[in-house]
């Protein structure tokens, strides 16, 4: 009898636990959905969520993004009545589970009116449904995969229209730029392309390979997991007469190790990185190149940033400054239009209408968002022309010099 009673109590307790768990699991989703249209008092300080890799493998890039975001907030608050504050979410790129956890937190945090980030293309792919359910549009300063905004071949657009914007040109534009530079400027013909098996890298590698093949070259293609650190056998596969090794990787420390191991193996090919490896002080492939977001290094704001950050421009993070400025502008307009009240939906509507001058964006060109497809690589949510990538040369002292 006692055993039956104990079993019954246990069963009831388990049922209560299961019901609570189910309720609380679906509660955030229900809360997030209702927050999408809930009216919020703007108040004097408005919140922007920033989803970025504060820790983990890509932390060296995430930290740059956060520094620039903070810089944007300080500058905005100095010149605007409606102040902005950042709510941080550490996505630990490439940790998908963590990116999703941040997405759920932000979507169900009623104070957050806009979103800067996520940083990685695969994070956008993994979390856009969650952000959409919460009515938040992602404004990313570094997710460059073409298919996020554009149907490409058999791949349909990967984010819902109106819920994804980016303050950085696409891989298609970057790929074209890189292929042009290798073929027409460097005049190299023996090229070896290695992707790191992530969505960002594969897309960029595909683009460059296709462009170079169209130009009559026949680049070799290889793959390596982000988990690998010993590249010695991979390097054995690279012919000794290879002139350029293109590594569109996400992790700058890995790219640096690859470069060092390549040199240690006696191979002198030029190492060409992408915006994911744009990390002065970390990726220092002497004589190499990096494609990255163009930066107006001559602007007073960039100089002020450098002064406050030990002389480092941390250029990878600059488009995140632009992202925060875009979000802040959209919130400000939505709050003014709503006479002190707004909703996430209204902020989102304003995002597509934001226009920044070159001096506001710091990108070296004005920012205006497309509302439909343009050219081969851009769709609604991308920046309109003249947005494009720049090429940097890595000098013998490891410094980055813009050359294109």
């Amino acid at each position: 009898m006692k055993k039956v009673l104990v079993a019954a109590v246990f069963a009831v307790a388990l049922s209560i636990l299961a019901a609570t768990a189910w309720g609380s699991a679906s509660a955030p989703a229900r809360v997030a959905t209702s927050l999408a249209t809930a009216s919020v008092n703007c108040g004097s300080t408005r919140s922007i969520g920033i989803a970025y890799p504060a820790t983990g493998d890509a932390a060296s890039l995430g930290v740059q993004q956060f520094h620039w975001a903070n810089f944007a907030v300080k500058r905005w608050n100095k010149s605007h009545k409606g102040h902005i504050k950042l709510v941080q979410g550490d996505t630990q790129l490439p940790n998908t589970a963590q990116a999703l956890a941040v997405a759920h937190q932000f979507a169900s945090n009623g104070k957050i009116l806009a979103l800067t980030g996520p940083a990685g293309s695969q994070e956008v792919q993994d979390t856009d449904a969650v952000y959409k359910s919460g009515g938040l549009a992602a404004v990313s300063g570094s997710a460059t995969r073409v298919a996020l905004t554009r149907t490409k071949g058999s791949t349909t657009r990967e984010t819902p229209k109106g819920f994804f914007f980016r303050t950085v040109p696409t891989d298609g534009q970057q790929g074209d730029r890189v292929a042009f530079w290798i073929h027409k400027k460097l005049k190299k013909t023996r090229i070896y392309i290695i992707d790191d098996e992530e969505a960002y890298s594969q897309g960029l590698a595909d683009q460059v390979q296709a462009d170079l093949s169209k130009a009559g070259l026949n680049p070799s293609r290889d793959h390596v997991s982000q988990a690998v650190s010993d590249f010695s056998s991979l390097i054995t596969r690279i012919p000794s007469n290879t002139q350029v090794v293109y590594i569109p990787w996400q992790l700058a420390p890995k790219a640096q190790i690859f470069y060092q191991q390549l040199r240690a193996a006696g191979k002198n090919a030029i190492v060409f990185g992408s915006d994911g490896t744009f990390a002065p002080g970390t990726f220092e492939a002497k004589g190499g190149y990096v494609s990255a977001f163009p930066v107006d290094f001559g602007s007073a704001a960039v100089k002020a940033y450098k002064k406050g950050h030990g002389g480092q421009d941390e250029a990878f993070g600059l488009p995140t400054f632009t992202s925060v400025w875009v979000n802040a502008t959209a919130i400000d307009r939505a709050c003014k239009a709503g006479h002190g009240k707004t909703t996430r939906a209204k902020v989102r509507q304003q995002l597509g209408k934001v226009k920044l001058s070159a001096s506001q964006s710091l990108l070296g060109f004005p920012v205006k968002f497309l509302t439909k497809n343009f050219g081969n690589y851009q769709g609604a949510g991308d920046m309109a022309a003249p947005a494009d990538f720049a090429i940097f040369h890595i000098a013998n002292n490891g410094g980055y010099v813009r050359v294109g």
């Binding site: 010695s232 056998s233 490891g398």
Partner: protein, 332 residues
């Protein structure tokens, strides 16, 4: 979606293009990598031999060893401007990392496994997994996930040029064999030889063999089995610590997650060689390293893990005792 098609023709073309020189390079790379796996595999096999425990935390002891080595390097001026000469620096890094890792091994055994000696076998296994996650996440928290660079390529060098560790000692088929590669293989061989002599020629070794054979009987014969087990964990962890420093010097970096995949592959090596067999762990480690190197070199980077873990499955199906393992006879 990319479908990584495996073409026999492409493999054949690659083999021909790489030629004998490429084959030697892959063999060289595989032996170096295999030496690291062998050192870690020895730890798995020794602990399993004594306690029948798969110490999944062992890969993380290797990771901690690499961090300790980096700590010594940083404390003595860093890779670009060390305070002492290269040889004493490297010796010190090894010694401190080995002793530190050994101490960690003893602590893990004392607090996570000893209380569970008489518990069902699953309990220490779960505890081992818990220790592994604890160590990984602790280091991640302490380091913010940052990768620390030994910068071994420039260590001892001038003006940012390649340092002496990577200068060639000799050439085979015009392919260089560098100082660090010779250092790793010779140190690993020396440690394996020392271990073999310890196990076969010393009283402690005899006690270890007796305890591995039958712990209860060994205890009844007057052997302090607790001390033997502690010594086993210490020695296993010392080897892992040495492997950690070698990895840092060869690859150039250390980070919180490096123990996971290396530990898995070393575990595979221990199983392939025959779990519980010391010569088996050595041969298994070298075999896995060479297979991995040739898989990457001839087939492609994305296939190497599939090949290695495919081998593990094959061995479990066809030769579950491994290359050097023996069938256990159970009295019914």
């Amino acid at each position: 979606m990319h479908l990584p098609l495996l073409s026999i023709h492409d493999i054949y073309v690659t083999i021909r293009e790489l030629g004998w020189g490429g084959a030697f390079e892959l063999l060289r790379n595989g032996i170096v990598l295999g030496s690291l796996y062998a050192l870690i595999a020895l730890g798995y096999t020794m602990v399993y031999g004594i306690l029948k425990l798969l110490n999944f935390a062992h890969g993380d002891v290797y990771m901690i060893g690499a961090f300790i080595g980096y700590g010594v390097l940083a404390a003595l001026g860093g890779p670009l401007n060390p305070d002492i000469g290269l040889a004493p620096l490297i010796i010190l890094m090894f010694l401190v990392a080995m002793v530190g890792a050994g101490g960690l091994g003893i602590a893990v055994e004392r607090f996570a496994y000893k209380p569970l000696r008489n518990a069902p076998r699953i309990a220490p296994l779960i505890s081992a997994l818990g220790v592994a996650f604890f160590l990984e996440n602790s280091v991640q928290l302490l380091t913010n996930g940052t990768r620390y660079s030994y910068n071994a390529f420039e260590l001892g060098g001038k003006n940012g040029n390649l340092g002496p560790l990577f200068s060639p000692v000799f050439h085979v088929l015009a392919r260089p064999v560098s100082v660090v590669q010779v250092l790793i293989v010779s140190t690993a061989l020396a440690l394996m030889l020392a271990l073999t002599l310890l196990v076969s020629r010393t009283r402690l070794g005899k006690a270890m063999r007796a305890t591995a054979f039958d712990r209860e009987a060994a205890s009844m014969m007057g052997i302090d089995t607790d001390r033997v087990i502690t010594s086993t964990f210490f020695i296993a962890s010392v080897l892992a610590g040495a492997a950690g420093v070698m990895f840092g010097l060869y690859i150039g970096e250390t980070y919180y997650f490096m123990g996971f995949l290396a530990g898995l592959k070393a575990f595979t090596a221990a199983v392939v060689g025959g779990i519980g067999s010391i010569p088996g762990a050595m041969v298994g480690g070298l075999l896995i390293g060479v297979v991995e190197s040739f898989a990457i070199g001839y087939v492609g980077g994305q296939w190497s893990d599939i090949v290695i873990f495919g081998i593990l499955i094959l061995f479990m199906l066809l030769r579950p005792n491994g290359l050097f393992g023996s069938r256990a006879i159970q009295k019914v």
